[in-house]
Structures are given as C-alpha cells and as structure tokens.
C-alpha cells in the first residue's frame, strides 16, 4: 500500500487511474449490459415497431383505432400479442375485406416481413402471447393418440371429429382445419381467434398443443390414410346418405331400367 501511496503523485498516475477506471467501467458494462448483438437487435426491434406502426396506420387503424385501442368496427388490440397478429394476418383473415358474421380465410395481403413488423408493433402495445418458435409447434415425438383424445374433448364439438369444420350460430362457423400450418394451429389455440375460445398454456400446455397438431397431421392432411376409400368430405352420415341416394340408388334405378328393357320377346309365328 505504501508503494502505491508513494507513487500517487507520479506524473503517469492520473493516466493509470484513468485507464483502470476505463477498464473497470468497460468490463462492468460488458458484463452487465446486454450484449452488443442484442443492442443491435433492440434497435432493429424498435425499427420494426416503427415500420409496423406505419403499416398499422395504413391497413388497420380505420377499424382498430389509431393506437390499437379499438373502435365500434374492431376490437382493441392491446394485449392480444404477436401470435394473434401472426395468425390473423398470416392466414389472410386480416385485414378484413368486409364486415360480416366472421372473417374468412383468404390470400394473405402482407409479406412475412411486414407481418413481423405488424406483430412487433401490436406486441409493443401490451403484453400478450408471442409468435411461437419452431420448436414450440414441432410435432416430433408428439403423442398422436393423446392428441386425438384432446381433439375430441376440446375441438370436435365445433370443428368435427376429423377437423372438417362445422356451423355456429348466425352464419358463423368453425373452419375446416385442412391445410392449416402447424404454426397457425398453435397460434389459434393460444389466442382463440374470432369465435374460438383460447387455450393458453395454463389450460392446454405446449406439449398437448403439439399432440393435437400431430393428430391433425395424421388424420387431416395430405398424408393421412383413408383405409375405407373416398372420405366423402369426412362429414358423417349426411354426405354418406347423399352418396347412397345419388350414386347407389341412381345406379340401381338405371340398372332396373336396363334389365327391364332387355326382356324375352314372344316369338311371332
């Protein structure tokens, strides 16, 4: 200590202290502050929010209000989270074309990048479920049978046992789940779009959502097997009855006419 104290008036002492202080603050900063990459990210994030806000002002604000607070034409978007935006805009349901009982799925209007920007902006308005990452909706190792049971318990009463959709009141409907991407399935369960109830992780954990997605992938996708032949829409007895009448009874009536037209002729002598 003495040595140090003796040299405290050394001409270079100030420089040494300065260097030391810089090193400490720099080190502390490096240790405690977000990493440099993150710093970049956050600036990108704020940029995305900024861009998203612009897109929002043009495409969404007329119904949802300039600050996402909602209006008589559209609900508030504060706290819906980026997952909701990714689902609604990603499936083309938003922006809505016209008011109606329900917003149908259609060709999406925004690019993926724009959807991310919109999501970022809406997410910045209030905390809500965020867009799931790939690992969240990955169905690798999911339990298909469990998914089936969960589907029949929670989803089939509106979406039909095979996810072929069904009617709700006053022109609303539960859409068919054919060709819905795993990500959108996950988001729909998470956020409960339109008339659907939401199934947050507290009621339906991530693992169970994966099971359900895996089940749909097995029974209602391009690769699902139909051991019995044509599915006839997978709608149950109504389409079966129609098929039996039109093709079964139709063919049989044609055959009766054919058989009756071919009869033994009495020989004319």
């Amino acid at each position: 200590m003495k040595k140090l104290s003796a040299r405290r008036r050394h001409p270079l002492a100030a420089l040494v202290v300065l260097l030391f202080a810089l090193a400490v603050t720099g080190g502390l900063y490096a240790a405690f502050s977000p990493s440099e990459a993150k710093a970049d990210d956050s600036s990108a994030q704020s940029l995305a929010i900024e861009e998203g806000k612009k897109l929002y002002a043009v495409g969404c604000a007329s119904c949802h209000g300039t600050g996402g607070q909602g209006s008589s034409d559209g609900p508030s978007l504060v706290g819906v989270g980026s997952a909701a935006v990714d689902f609604q805009v990603g499936t083309g349901r938003m922006p809505a074309q016209q008011p109606g009982a329900q917003m149908p799925k259609k060709k999406k209007v925004y690019t993926d990048a724009e959807i991310e920007q919109l999501s970022a902006y809406i997410a910045s308005l209030g905390a809500g479920p965020s867009t799931p990452t790939k690992s969240q909706y990955d169905i690798e190792g999911a339990d298909v049978a469990k998914g089936g049971e969960l589907f029949r318990t929670n989803c089939a009463q509106c979406h039909n046992f095979a996810g072929k959709g069904g009617a709700l009141t006053n022109g609303k409907y539960a859409p068919a789940l054919d060709d819905v991407s795993p990500k959108h399935l996950y988001e729909a369960m998470q956020t409960g779009p339109q008339n659907m109830p939401s199934f947050p992780d507290t009621t339906l954990p991530e693992k169970n959502k994966q099971d359900i997605i895996a089940y749909l992938d097995t029974v209602n996708s391009d690769k699902s097997k139909t051991p019995g032949g044509l599915e006839l829409g997978g709608l149950g007895p109504v389409s079966e009855g129609l098929f039996a009448w039109v093709f079964g009874m139709g063919a049989l009536i044609v055959l009766t006419i054919w058989v009756a037209a071919r009869t033994a002729k009495a020989k004319k002598s």
């Binding site: 009982a101 298909v144 049978a145 469990k146 998914g147 089936g148 049971e149 029949r152 318990t153 089939a156 009463q157 979406h159 039909n160 046992f161 095979a162 072929k164 959709g165 069904g166 009617a167 709700l168 009141t169 006053n170 022109g171 409907y173 539960a174 089940y215 097995t218 029974v219 139909t226 051991p227 019995g228 032949g229 044509l230 599915e231 006839l232 997978g234 709608l235 149950g236 007895p237 109504v238 389409s239 079966e240 009855g241 129609l242 098929f243 039996a244 009448w245 093709f247 079964g248 009874m249 049989l252 009536i253 055959l255 009766t256 006419i257 058989v259 009756a260 037209a261 009869t263 033994a264």
Partner: protein, 545 residues
C-alpha cells in the same frame, strides 16, 4: 306283376337322374303341384316393379355380411386399452365393442370391406324400400286387395329404420353414442314414465354398461327375425294377389300380361341380384362409410359437430333440431315439449303414409279390386298428397342437416332453421296445390292428344298460305292407355230431407267424406275424358287439325 314292371323298366331304360331326384322329392314333399302352379306364374315387366327387388336383395346382402360381422364383433362395454395396428388409437381407452370394430376394420381379413358393404347395403335397403313404397303409392297399387300388403311393407320400412339405428349404435363410437344419448333424451321427455323407461332400457344411468349387449340381440335376432317373417308374408301376398300392371292394350283387372317366372324371371331376378350386389360392393370398395377410427370411441364428455343419424333417421333429427326448446315446469316436474312434440310428430307423419290406403278407400267408398295401376295424373289428389308428404319429409331432412347446409352454402343456421319451421307447414300446402295443377294440366294434354293426335313437329303450308302443324292420330293402343281410366262420381250425402220432408240425420263424418270425395272426384279433380261422340266428331271431319 313285378315281372311286368321289370320288363317295362327294361324296355324304357332307367329314368334320368334329375327326374328320379324330382320324383323322390315330390313323393315326400309334394312339391309338384306347388311348382306346377307357380313356376309358370306370370309377372308383368316394368322397371319400377324391380325397385322392391332392390330392397329384397340388399336385405339378403345385409344378412349375409351381418353374419360374417357377428363372428368378430364383441357386444361388450367393458373397457379395454387399444394396442392394435391403428396408430392414432394407441393406448386409448375404449369399450370392447369399439375395439372389436377396429379389429374388424384393420385386422380381420376383408373385414373393412364387409363392414362397408353391410352399412352401404343398409342405406340402399332403406332407400330402395322408400322408392318402392313411393312407386306403390303414386300408382295406387295399395288399393284393394293389397292394403294389408301395404301395411306389411310400411312395417318393414319402419322396422328397417329401427334395425338400422340399433346397428349403427353397436360400434359404440362417438357418433353412435351421441345418438344413444339423443334417444335417452327422447325417453326422458316422455311425461311421467320417462325416467323409468330410461332406467329400464339403459339398465341405470346413461350410458351404463349394459346397453350394447342389449342392443345386440335386438339388432341381430329380434328385428331381423320379425322383418324376415314380414318379408316372406309380403312376398307370399304378392304371389297370391298377382302383380299389378300398368294400363295398356289387352291388360284388364282380370288378367296379368307378362312373362313366366320360370325361366324368364328366374334368370332376370337371379342376374339382377348379382347386379345389386355389384353396385353395393363397388360403392363399398370406393367410399368410406362410418369411419369409426377417426370418429373415435364414445365418451359421454365428448361430442362432435355434424352429429347426424343415417339418412332414414334424418327426418326425426330435423324435427328435433328445428323445434323451439319449449318447456313447461309444473309441480317440480319438467315437461320437455321441445323434444316430446317432435317425437310424437315423428310417428304421426310416418303413419299418415301408413294408413293412407284406408283413408282413401273410406273417402272414395271404392271397395272393388284393382289390378290395373293408376297413372298418377289421373288421381290428382292422391298424387298431390304424396308430393306434399314428400315435401314435408324433405324439408325435415334439410332441418336434420341444417349445419351442413349452413357451412356448404354459406348461410346462417338460424335462417335455415326458420326456413324449415315455416317450410314444414307451408311447403306441403304449396306442393299440394302445384302438383294438383300439374296433374290437371297433364290430363288436359292427354285429352288433347286423344282428340287431336300427336304433334309431329312437321309444319305444312296450305295453298292459301296458312301454316299448320301436322298432327298424327294415335294408335288404338295409345288411345286405350289414355282413356281406359274410370272417372267416378263423388260421394254425395243425399238430400237433406227425406221423402216426407223431415230433415234427415246426417253425420258430420258423412259431410266430411262428401267434401273429401269431391276433392278426389269432383269437377276440380278430373278433366272429362273425351267421349266417343267427341272423338268421332273431330276425327271424321277432314282437314281438321
């Protein structure tokens, strides 16, 4: 004596084997006279006479495939865990009935095909009976002496519905369990005794553990047994009454014009059986029916949208779906009118068709035998009633599938429900009026055709420049067909006072009958047939067109 017979036998040689077998059988069963009387039985030829055959053959196919299915089906509700080849059901708890149906579908050789044939054939069976019944109705083939046979047929249709229902309930899948829950509600809605019936049928609280085992003998033994008996009686009566025939030259109420049973109809009917089997087999090979593996096992806490019964029950489903959910609460009891009224209406609407022959014969007072069929246009009121009934039936089918109409035609399910509610009352009325009008129009056209001949489409220019269409006179046969029907006078109550001027006692029912009879045979229902004089006057005048 014996030597003489031996000589005789030696001289002629032994009789052919077939003859000896026939002799052997005849001397024990006495079938010769039976066969002699019936082998040459004559049947008239028309495609619409084969609709009943379609029903008969699909019934046979159902029995054959049903026997195969019983070999592998376990009618038990005891719980098992599935470990079969169908992956999405791995480790799922289900009843043994459901598990064995999965096994039939995926492990039994040909099981899925046979299951599908069984089920498709059931739909075709009911559809064929329905179409057959409508043919009989619209042509008036139910008239004396065939009223009883009409009732047999009607009962067969009704029992067919029940057998179908018990059949698709057996696999204990989510859809059929929902149907059984529906029936529980139906039982519960019966006033006073509803709860007792439910407990009796289900053996306790729904779903219990007995139901499948109880439905099984009903489906495979009781109902098919009764149906088989009725079917045989139905066919015996067809033989006994002889078949009806369409009007035509040489066809009278006293003869049957057609081909003999052997060999013509044996060959045709035998071949036709295989055609029916082929159509059903093709249907079953290309299209899924009741995919219980995606529907899943029944659990009372689960339900799927689009939970409809097979088509023949869709009418009952519609009645319940569109009925407002009315309830009356009295003395701590609930009367569920929202379910009870539909289930009362269900047999009422069906019975309207079932008892129709008796109503018509009461109204018309016609007690004669009829073997010549009516052309539907010549019985406008009956035809209109039939179309009105079909309209009510179809409207209710729409109600039964209201959710699918909503999703597939982008409509509101509420609007469809209201459409069906109004349509059930209004539709039949409109259909009745329109059909009667069409029938009368067709009668007028027949009259024109008789008097003026067939429009040939050939336009002729006369010397003075006028254009006329050439009408070709009808042949004798065609004239007969168009004019052979009777045009009876309506029943009349008679004078209100008797010969002494005293007011006669006229029952209300008589007045009603007179009124109804007028709607059948009054001036509003029959365009007068051309008389001989009219015909001769028009056809003798040359140059008339």
């Amino acid at each position: 004596m014996s030597t003489a017979r031996d000589n005789d036998a030696q001289r002629r040689g032994k009789a052919p084997a077939g003859e000896r077998v026939a002799d052997w059988a005849d001397s024990r069963l006495g079938i010769y006279s039976l066969a002699k009387a019936n082998m040459r039985k004559i049947f008239p030829d028309h495609w619409s006479f084969m609709l009943g055959e379609v029903a008969l053959y699909s019934f046979i196919i159902i029995i054959l495939t049903g026997v195969y299915l019983t070999l592998f089906f376990h009618p038990s509700m005891s719980e098992v865990v599935y470990h079969g080849p169908y992956e999405p059901m791995q480790g799922v708890r289900m009843s043994e009935a459901f598990a064995s149906t999965l096994d039939i579908s995926f492990e039994v050789r040909g099981g899925l095909l046979i299951r599908q044939i069984h089920h498709w054939a059931a739909l075709i069976f009911l559809a064929a009976m329905f179409v057959h019944m409508m043919r009989v109705f619209f042509t008036g083939a139910f008239r004396k002496p065939r009223e009883i046979n009409w009732l047999f047929g009607f009962l067969l249709f009704f029992l067919g519905m029940l057998t179908g229902f018990t059949g698709y309930s057996l696999p204990d899948d989510l859809l059929s369990g929902t149907g059984l829950r529906f029936i529980e509600g139906v039982f519960l809605s019966v006033p006073v005794i509803g709860t007792y019936i439910t407990m009796f049928v289900y053996g306790g609280e729904f779903p219990g553990t007995d139901l499948i085992a109880r439905l099984y003998p009903v489906h495979v033994l009781l109902l098919p047994g009764i149906m088989l008996g009725l079917l045989v009686a139905h066919l015996i009566l067809v033989f006994y009454h002889k078949h009806t025939q369409y009007p035509g030259a040489g066809k009278t109420n006293k003869n049957v014009v057609g081909m003999p049973l052997l060999p013509v109809y044996m060959a045709k009917a035998g071949g036709f059986f295989f055609l029916v089997f082929a159509v059903i087999a093709v249907l079953s090979a290309i299209a899924t029916i009741n995919p219980i593996w995606t529907i899943g096992p029944y659990r009372p806490d689960q339900v799927s949208t689009g939970a409809q019964p097979d088509w023949y029950m869709g009418f009952a489903e519609g009645l319940v779906r569109v009925m407002p959910g009315w309830e009356i609460n009295i003395w701590g009891h609930t009367l569920v009118l929202g379910v009870f009224i539909p289930i009362v209406l269900f047999p009422v609407v069906l019975l309207a068709m079932g008892v129709y022959p008796f109503i018509e014969s009461w109204i018309t007072g016609d007690k004669r035998e009829h073997h010549i069929l009516d052309r539907p246009r010549n019985a406008p009121t009956r035809t209109a009633f039939g179309v009105a009934w079909l309209t009510a039936y179809f409207v209710m089918l729409v109600g039964g599938g209201n959710d699918l109409w909503a999703t597939h035609f982008h409509l509101s399910i509420n609007s469809i429900t209201w459409f069906v509610r109004i349509g059930f009352f209004l539709g039949p009325v409109l259909a009745f009026i329109a059909t009667r009008r069409i029938c009368l129009g067709l009668q007028r056209r027949d009259r024109d055709k008789v008097l003026h001949g067939r429009e040939t489409g050939i336009i002729k220019r006369l010397p003075h420049g006028e254009f006329v269409e050439v009408h070709e006179p009808l042949s004798q046969e065609q004239l007969h067909t168009l004019t052979q029907h009777e045009q009876p006078k309506p029943y009349e109550v008679g004078p209100e006072v008797d010969e002494n001027g005293v007011a006669r006692k006229i029952k209300g029912s008589q007045k009603l009958r007179a009124k109804l009879s007028k709607s059948y045979y009054g001036e509003q229902a029959q365009i007068p047939k051309p008389t001989r004089e009219e015909y001769q006057e028009i056809t003798s005048g040359h140059g008339h067109h």
